[in-house]
């Protein structure tokens, strides 16, 4: 009987512990019915850090873009507008002067000073994760409390576009130094929402910053929830637990669009997805073969079957929203007959065997369509599916023949979209995984970096795209549309082409 009692005790204590623990997690209902002033935003992964210099991934940026402001920012139409810098002028080819807005407060009460800007950019230049964005900068000098001078190593026209990148958000020197190694979990910016709490893997809570320099936001609280499964984000919208869900799966699009309380927002992104060819490996070292494959793939089938229509055919390596985009380029329209002719001309009348390297499930679906289409012109493709780390490692070494990848020109400037992918100095891990090199293209891309005349720059990039498309080191398949599902009462929400969406203007109706 005694032993029975002991067992009874063990079981009861487990029960009590369980209930107590479950009780710990119970929080008061987020809000009473009636006045809604909080929104719940769902995205697929947790932020990695809220220190803009510690990471450069889109889920983190989506949170940080609410907390920080940049010197200048790009609107949803990709126009550069004054941010924390109220004005600027280019003194000479390599010198830019920025006038900092007066009276801007950080979330810790400190006032924004030119020294914070210098501190931020100097810190950014030392970061292994984001220094490439400000690589062109040589030095930042403080003239007075409200003026900084940025000098670039060489003339660098897209400087403003780079300063508008969400990673270039301005930090408060004091807050960074105080927090030390833990700054990533204690961010302080000047943005419309300030950081409140972070429950790892679950949610990040932000609260309205009443001293925001453009005036306080209408929302009082923003909660970023981690919902890894696409279907669950849609379900959360349907049950009303989620107000905005990023990345609705193609299969769920209609469900959201047809729901009486929900709306589906779709907008172009700056991303382009492509099939790349290793230009240093036979048979893809032959331009005719690359062109033949380009003619033999029909992106319409892919857009229809894999994306459920959420994309449109690409005609250039950069998307239409990017500065320098050439809308006059001829794309390789699907033409298997022409593809066969080109293959014959290249000496591969009977086709050949090759591999298509991919990583991820979207890539896998696309690869199967490409495989079937290339079979029609006699090319026998085997699909090699690799884990992401292995994939980027081995494609950087040039072991692949054909590969599938995407690229997003986050700065909205052709330099960022073309230089890493097609300049011969960027072969391998720097981005040029097709190992493409054309001295003429190299020259144009270098000129584009330094040209100060806007029209001339545009001409340069248009020409570069023509040459690249003719050489066909990659076959641009499609520009993907980005989407979000929201409750119908959410107004004032727009998707930003760079993929980091601001929530400042949201109000309820």
């Amino acid at each position: 009987m005694i032993r029975n009692k002991k067992l009874f005790l063990v079981v009861t204590s487990i029960l009590v512990l369980a209930l107590a623990l479950a009780g710990c997690g119970q929080k008061p209902a987020e809000e009473a019915k009636g006045q809604k002033d909080t929104i719940v935003v769902a995205q697929s992964a947790d932020a990695k850090s809220l220190d803009p210099h510690a990471t450069n991934d889109s889920t983190s940026s989506n949170v940080m873009t609410q907390i920080y402001d940049t010197l200048v920012y790009a609107t949803e139409d990709m126009e550069i507008q004054p941010g924390l810098a109220e004005s600027w002028n280019q003194v000479d080819d390599t010198t830019w002067e920025f006038n900092i807005r007066k009276g801007v407060k950080f979330h810790n009460g400190e006032e924004l000073k030119a020294s914070d800007v210098k501190f931020t950019l100097d810190r950014m230049m030392k970061s292994s994760k984001v220094s490439h964005i400000v690589e062109a900068i040589d030095s930042v000098e403080v003239v007075d409390d409200y003026k900084v001078v940025i000098k670039t190593k060489e003339p660098f026209s897209p400087l403003l576009a780079h300063l508008a990148h969400s990673a270039a958000g301005i930090l408060n020197e004091k807050a960074v130094k105080e927090a030390g190694d833990n700054y990533g979990q204690n961010p302080v910016g000047t943005g419309p929402f300030k950081f409140v709490s972070w429950e790892a893997g679950d949610k990040i809570t932000l609260e309205r910053f009443d001293d925001y320099f453009r005036g306080p936001a209408k929302l009082k609280k923003v909660i970023f929830r981690v919902v890894p499964e696409g279907t669950n984000r849609t379900i959360g919208l349907e049950t009303g637990e989620i107000d905005i869900a990023y990345g609705i799966e193609p299969i769920d699009k209609d469900r959201v669009a047809n729901h009486e309380n929900l709306q589906l927002i779709e907008a172009p992104s700056l991303g382009m997805y492509y099939i790349g060819f290793n230009c240093e490996k036979a048979p893809f070292d032959n331009k005719l073969v690359r062109q033949a494959v380009s003619y033999a793939i029909n992106p319409d089938d892919i857009i229809e079957a894999v994306l459920s229509g959420s994309g449109f055919k690409a005609n250039s390596p950069i998307a239409p929203g990017v500065f320098g985009y050439n809308d006059k380029l001829n794309r390789y329209e699907y033409n298997p007959e022409k593809a066969k002719e080109l293959l014959k001309e290249a000496g591969y009348e009977n086709g050949f065997k090759t591999e298509l390297w991919i990583s991820g499930s979207l890539a896998n679906q696309i690869a199967q369509i490409v495989q079937a289409q290339l079979k029609e012109i006699g090319i026998d493709v085997s699909i090699e599916s690799l884990e992401w780390g292995t994939y980027i490692d081995r494609t950087a070494k040039g072991e692949q023949e054909m590969f599938f990848l995407g690229w997003t020109t986050v700065t909205g400037d052709a330099d960022y979209g073309l230089y890493p992918l097609f300049h011969s100095s960027a072969k391998g891990s720097a981005g040029n995984r097709s190992f493409y090199g054309n001295p003429e293209v190299d020259k144009l891309l270098e000129q584009g970096k330094v040209a100060t005349d806007i029209e001339k720059r545009e001409e340069i990039y248009k020409k570069a795209q023509e040459l690249i498309m003719e050489d066909a080191p990659i076959f641009p398949l499609f520009y993907k549309l980005q989407n979000a599902g929201t409750q119908k009462f959410i107004k004032g929400f727009k998707l930003h082409p760079a993929g980091h969406h601001k929530l400042y203007n949201i109000y309820f109706e």
């Binding site: 990471t55 490439h132 679950d202 890894p228 279907t231 669950n232 490692d393 690229w407 891990s429």
Partner: protein, 308 residues
């Protein structure tokens, strides 16, 4: 008994050393460069090199491993490559959610599994027995993520009774706990039934019945107690196993547990995070095993006498 516990705790040391060595080797040998993964698909080689140097990845394997052990002994398991936070801070931030889900899941399993198992055994081949055995078979074979989604469809989308995901109070625990609990319940039911059947046929049960002991007492006192050992083993194993994280259930219910943390870390080749998680999981598993062994002693005095 105390000596026995101490002995078991000391055994943890070689276990942890072995586990870390194996995991470290696997992480080292699998292709994919953590620096390149962190920097993404466009990172100039010099930046990749800079980061590799910063992370100490250029040192030989043995140097890296011993540095890890040395720092580990000082209680410093390093910072996650991807979040830069101390790894155990990340794990402990997630562990309460996992513990909560595990306890709730196992409770569901026990509450369903043991009574159903007992009734099935006492009424062998009855309708109840057949139905519950089919149910148990279904429970074992049903994929967790599918069952979880079905529960969400019914209770969150259609009936709107319970939240579809997240860790937000007791109500959000119900569906994930049922999802986890049913497959464990199925195992426990089958184990309870077979263990009970074996005991019920023993001579001392017949003796008890012949003495005119009430059937209820025969089952609860004489039979169940003697059948408990294998049941405790199964429950303990399930408990330890779930403490290591239930990735699928966590994903379906957006539950911020340790399982997802570990899988994400593996995907990103976040070696310090993977190592710390695996060490943590193996230690908790060993502890649960120890607890189970101690529990044996309370249930069966014959076993207690062996713990010297």
């Amino acid at each position: 008994m105390h000596k026995y516990i101490l002995h078991r705790l000391l055994l943890l040391i070689p276990v942890i050393l072995g586990v870390t060595f194996i995991v470290y080797s696997i992480m080292y040998l699998t292709p994919g460069d953590p620096a390149q993964i962190i920097l993404g698909e466009s990172a100039p080689p010099e930046k990749v090199e800079q980061l590799r140097e910063e992370m100490g990845l250029n040192d030989p394997f043995i140097v890296q491993y011993f540095r890890f052990i040395k720092n580990g002994l000082k209680g410093d398991f390093g910072r996650s490559y991807s979040t830069r936070r101390p790894v155990f801070e990340e794990i402990f931030a997630r562990f309460p959610a996992t513990l909560k889900l595990t306890i709730a899941g196992v409770l569901v399993a026990i509450i369903i599994g043991i009574p159903v198992g007992i009734i099935s055994a006492t009424k062998q081949y009855s309708l109840f027995d057949n139905v519950s055995m089919v149910g148990a078979l279904l429970g074992v074979s049903m994929p967790n993520f599918w069952f979880g989604l079905m529960l969400v469809l019914v209770f969150s989308v259609t009936l709107k009774w319970l939240p579809s995901g997240g860790d937000n109070g007791l109500s959000s625990l119900v569906l994930p706990a049922i999802t986890l609990g049913t497959s464990a319940a199925a195992l426990i039911t089958r184990m309870t039934r077979s263990s009970m059947l074996e005991v019920i046929r023993q001579d001392y049960i017949r003796t008890a019945r012949a003495k005119g002991v009430l059937e209820k007492k025969v089952i609860n006192k004489h039979a169940l107690k003697n059948a408990l050992i294998p049941i405790i083993t199964v429950v303990g194993l399930q408990f330890g196993y779930l403490l290591g994280g239930a990735v699928l259930t966590e994903t379906v219910f957006s539950w911020p547990g340790v399982g997802r943390l570990l899988v994400d870390a593996i995907r990103q080749k976040d070696t310090p995070m993977v190592l710390a998680s695996v060490v943590f999981v193996s230690v908790t598993f060993s502890f649960v095993n120890l607890m189970v062994d101690i529990l044996y002693a309370y249930v069966d005095p014959r076993i207690k006498s062996q713990y010297k």
